[in-house]
C-alpha cells in the first residue's frame, strides 16, 4: 500500500555501499558517524534560526504587529543578525562562581536534546537509530537536561539563578510524570516502544482518530505537560522577568546563553516531533478509509513534508499557547500537575488498558 512513498533507506544504503567500497568497515562506521553528526549539527543550527524567526512572527501575529521586517526580505535575516551579535558578545566571568560547573551546564542541556534527536524518525527510512526502546530512550535522555539547568543556576552563585533553577527543577521533574504517562497510553495501544512500529501501526489511521476520546485526552495532557516541561509560556516561571530577571541563565552571556536558548527551541521541536510520531502518525500521510483516489494523491506528498508539516503545526500551537494565555503562579502550576493532570492521566491510562483488552479500537 505504501510502496509509492519514497523510502530513504535506499539512499542511505547506497551511501553506505559507496563508502564500504572505498574504505575498511571500521572507517566506514566512523565516517558515517561523523556525517550524521555534521548533518544533525547543521540541522540544529538552521532549525534554531528558523524557530526564533517563527516565534517572533507568530508573536507579532497574535499582537497585531508585523514583526521583524527590516533585515532581508520579510525580515528573514533578522535572526542571523541576532546570532552574529550573540556570538560577538563578551563572555562575562563571575567571581566566586564554580567555573567548571558553570561552563559545563550549557553543554549538558544541549547534549541531552542532541541525544534525543538521534531516535526521531524524520521520514520513511530516515532515522539515525531505530532502538527497540525508542520512546523510552527519548524520555530517558531528555530527563538529563534538567541537570544542566540546576547546575547552571547553582554554579552562577546568584540568588535569581538559584531560585529560577529550583523552580525549573520542580516543574520539570513533576511534569515529566504526566508526559511519560500520556505517552504510555499510545504504547499500550501499539504494544511496542519501537518508533518505526508505532508509525507502521498508524498506516490505516492516526492514533488520535483510532484511539477514541482517551487518545484525544492523552494528546491534550501531553501538549500541556510537555509545554510545561520545556519551560515555555504560560509555564515560563523559571524565567520570570519581573521577579527573577532571566532565571537560571541570568549570569550567562554570549555563546553560553545562546546554547541555553538554542536548547530551549530544540526541546520544543523534540516535543512536537514526539507528539507527531505518537499521536499524528509521524510521516504517515493522511488517509480516509476507502477513498482510494484521495489516499493515492496523499501518498504523492513526500513523507518528509508530512512529518515537518505536522511538527510545525504543533510548534505553532505551542507558540499560540505562549502568546495568548496568562502565566500561572508556581503553586498553581504544581497544583495543576499533581491534583488535576496526574489523576486524570492515571484514570485515562486504565480506561485505555481496558479498551485495548476488549479490543474496542480500530
Amino acid at each position: 500500500m505504501h510502496d509509492r512513498i519514497y523510502d530513504f533507506s535506499q539512499l542511505t544504503h547506497h551511501i553506505d555501499q559507496a563508502l564500504r567500497s572505498v574504505m575498511s568497515p571500521t572507517w566506514t562506521v566512523i565516517t558515517e558517524l561523523v556525517i550524521i553528526g555534521l548533518i544533525f549539527l547543521g540541522f540544529y543550527a538552521l532549525l534554531g534560526l528558523f524557530l526564533v524567526y517563527a516565534e517572533r512572527k507568530v508573536c507579532a501575529l497574535m499582537q497585531n504587529r508585523i514583526g521583524p521586517n527590516r533585515v532581508g526580505k520579510w525580515g528573514t535575516l533578522q535572526t542571523v543578525a541576532d546570532l552574529i551579535k550573540l556570538l560577538t558578545k563578551e563572555l562575562v566571568y563571575i567571581k566566586r562562581s564554580d567555573k567548571f560547573l558553570y561552563n559545563l551546564a550549557p553543554f549538558i542541556v544541549i547534549v541531552a536534546s542532541f541525544l534525543a534527536i538521534a531516535a526521531v524518525p524524520f521520514a520513511k527510512g530516515l532515522q539515525a537509530v531505530d532502538l527497540d526502546i525508542g520512546i523510552f530512550y527519548i524520555i530517558a535522555v531528555t530527563s538529563l537536561g534538567v541537570i544542566g539547568i540546576l547546575l547552571g543556576g547553582w554554579a552562577s552563585n546568584s540568588k535569581y539563578s538559584l531560585i529560577g533553577a529550583m523552580r525549573s527543577g520542580a516543574q520539570v521533574v513533576s511534569y515529566e510524570l504526566s508526559v511519560g504517562l500520556s505517552l504510555l497510553s499510545i504504547v499500550i495501544f501499539t504494544g511496542s516502544t519501537r518508533l518505526s512500529t508505532i508509525i507502521a501501526s498508524q498506516a490505516d489511521g492516526w492514533w488520535i482518530f483510532k484511539g477514541h476520546i482517551p487518545a484525544v485526552i492523552a494528546f491534550l495532557i501531553y501538549l500541556v505537560a510537555a509545554t510545561a516541561e520545556i519551560n515555555r509560556g504560560p509555564f515560563d516561571l523559571p524565567e520570570a522577568e519581573s521577579e527573577l530577571t532571566a532565571g537560571f541563565h541570568t549570569e550567562y552571556s554570549g555563546i553560553k546563553f545562546a546554547m541555553f536558548f538554542l536548547a530551549e527551541y530544540m526541546n520544543m521541536f523534540l516535543v512536537a516531533a514526539i507528539a507527531t510520531t505518537l499521536f499524528l502518525g509521524g510521516w504517515m500521510p493522511f488517509h480516509i478509509g476507502h477513498w482510494d483516489a484521495f489516499n493515492r494523491i496523499m501518498d504523492y506528498i513526500p513523507s518528509i513534508i508530512w512529518f515537518f508539516g505536522k511538527v510545525f503545526f504543533i510548534i505553532y500551537v505551542i507558540m499560540w499557547f505562549k502568546w495568548t494565555f496568562p502565566r500561572l503562579r508556581i503553586d498553581q502550576l504544581l497544583k495543576l500537575e499533581w491534583k488535576y493532570l496526574l489523576p486524570l492521566n492515571l484514570i485515562n491510562t486504565i480506561i485505555i488498558a481496558f479498551i485495548v483488552m476488549m479490543g474496542w479500537y480500530f
Binding site: 571500521t26 562506521v29 566512523i30 566566586r96 562562581s97 564554580d98 567548571f100 560547573l101 559545563l104 532502538l131 527497540d132 526502546i133 523510552f136 530512550y137 524520555i139 530517558a140 535522555v141 530527563s143 538529563l144 534538567v146 541537570i147 540546576l150 547546575l151 543556576g153 547553582w154 554554579a155 552563585n157 538559584l162 533553577a165 529550583m166 527543577g169 521533574v173 515529566e176 504494544g191 511496542s192 516502544t193 503553586d331 498553581q332
Partner: protein, 176 residues
C-alpha cells in the same frame, strides 16, 4: 583493536577516573556531577551489550532521578564556595586499606575464575519479553517480587507524604 573495543576502553576509563574523582573531590556538587558521568558511562556499556532497556533505566532512574535528587538537596544546603575539610589521617588510612583489600579480593576472584564461553544462542531481550516475564505467573515469571516491590514503594510514598504534610492547624495558607 576493533572499534567496539576502543569504545569499551574509553567508557571503562571514564568510569574509573570519574569514580575516583567522585570520592576524592572536596566540593560536594562536583562529586555529584562526577557520579553522573560514571552513571552515564555505565549506561553506555549497557548499550554496548545491546541491553537497551537496562541502559534506559540507568539513565532515567539513576541519572535523571537520583542524581537530580542529590543535586536538589545539595543546592538547598550548600553554597558555591563550600569545601569539605581534609579527612583525618586514620580515616584516610582506613579508607585506603579497605580499597586495597576490596580491589585485591575482586581481582583475585575475577582472575582465578575461568569464564566459560557459552555456545547457546543469545536471547533477544526486548521490552515485550521483559514486560511479559515481569507479570508472568508461570515458571520464570516475576509477578510476586514485582507486586511485593510495588507495595513497598506505595508504603514509602505514603510515609513520605505523611512526613512532609503540614499540621492541620496551620494549613490556612494563601489558597486561592
Amino acid at each position: 583493536m576493533s572499534l567496539s573495543a576502543i569504545i569499551f576502553y574509553i567508557l571503562a576509563a571514564t568510569i574509573i577516573i570519574f569514580s575516583i574523582l567522585t570520592v576524592t573531590s572536596r566540593r560536594i556538587l562536583r562529586a555529584a556531577i562526577y557520579l553522573l558521568f560514571v552513571l552515564v558511562a555505565t549506561a553506555g556499556i549497557y548499550f554496548m551489550l545491546n541491553y537497551q532497556f537496562m541502559a534506559a533505566i540507568q539513565l532515567t532512574l539513576y541519572s535523571g532521578g537520583i542524581v537530580v535528587l542529590i543535586i536538589f538537596s545539595i543546592m538547598l544546603t550548600s553554597e558555591v564556595g563550600d569545601k569539605f575539610e581534609r579527612p583525618a589521617l586514620w580515616k584516610l588510612l582506613a579508607g585506603v586499606s579497605t580499597f586495597i583489600i576490596g580491589t585485591g579480593l575482586t581481582l583475585w576472584v575475577l582472575l582465578s575464575h575461568v569464564f566459560k564461553v557459552s555456545d547457546q544462542q543469545a536471547i533477544d531481550v526486548n521490552m515485550r519479553s521483559i514486560g511479559n516475564s515481569l507479570l508472568s505467573l508461570h515458571k520464570g515469571g516475576f509477578v510476586l517480587p514485582f507486586e511485593v516491590i510495588s507495595i513497598l514503594l506505595l508504603a514509602v510514598m505514603v510515609a513520605a507524604i505523611i512526613i512532609a504534610k503540614k499540621e492541620e492547624d496551620n494549613t490556612k495558607s494563601d489558597e486561592i
